[in-house]
């Protein structure tokens, strides 16, 4: 029979002893393995992209009002 109280106490004790540095180092090694050894320890950085307003600075085309009197014949004449 599993002693759940003993198991929980063990887990709580583990959390008490773990620091941000030790846990981050463990997780980086777990996720990136040897690459982390090569690059050195760092911290987790949010990789959420921000929406780039790619088209926000593009000016709207400046259309002029159509000249209803303009005909292809006028164009040719010009």
């Amino acid at each position: 029979m599993i002693n759940l109280n003993k198991l929980e106490a063990k887990i709580d004790k583990l959390f008490e002893n773990e620091t941000s540095d030790s846990l981050t180092k463990w997780l980086l090694n777990k996720r990136f393995g040897n690459i982390n050894i090569l690059l050195g320890n760092g911290k987790f950085v949010s990789m959420k992209s921000h929406k780039t307003p790619l088209f926000s600075n593009i000016q709207k085309p400046n259309f002029t009002k159509k000249d209803n009197n303009f005909t292809p014949i006028n164009r040719l004449a010009a």
Binding site: I2, L4, E8, I11, F15, W26, F44
Partner: protein
């Protein structure tokens, strides 16, 4: 208790299960078994296709010291509490959410899980033959992640299927 272990048929009959250390193994490095034979067959047909055949091994396993998150109410709520506690702790200390595998690996490597032989857990089956009623999957897909292979009482080839 009876469990099933699915592997590709590679013409050599296994004498013991293969340890799974894949990144997507939910509960970390362990011997994984299915609780239902039809889930073992479905896994073989869907994911063990390389050689055209799959083997299903049948095992009797002593589950006295298995954390039973499927049928034991007390152990299920204990499990939920510890996983959520660990997840919050990881976020607080590292600023990132852990996976279930990472939590279990962490418990393993820090010798927390040495008091248990494995974890019985469940998710929802994708097996179409389980969808016998409309709109709700009522059948659990039960798996055992066994950490202590000494708890395997018997292990033998049960069935070879073709994909």
């Amino acid at each position: 208790m009876t469990f099933y272990h699915t592997q590709e048929n590679r013409y050599n009959e296994l004498e013991e299960p293969i340890l799974c250390d894949k990144d997507n193994a939910w509960l970390g490095e362990a011997y994984y078994f299915w609780g239902n034979e039809d889930d073992a067959v479905f896994w073989g047909v869907k994911f063990k296709r390389k050689t055209g055949k799959y083997d299903i091994y049948k095992a009797e396993i002593n589950t006295d010291e298995i954390l039973d998150t499927v049928f034991n109410r007390e152990q299920y709520f204990f499990w939920i509490k510890q996983i959520e506690k660990a997840a919050k702790f990881f976020v607080k200390k590292t600023g990132t959410k852990p996976t279930l595998k990472e939590i279990n690996d962490f418990f393993h490597e820090r010798n927390v899980w040495t008091d248990i032989d494995g974890i019985l857990f469940q998710d929802i089956s994708e097996n179409p033959i389980h969808f016998m009623v409309k709109e709700f999957q009522y059948k659990k897909r039960i798996q055992l992640a066994l950490y202590n292979d000494k708890k395997i009482v018997t292990f033998a080839l049960h069935y070879t299927g073709e994909v």
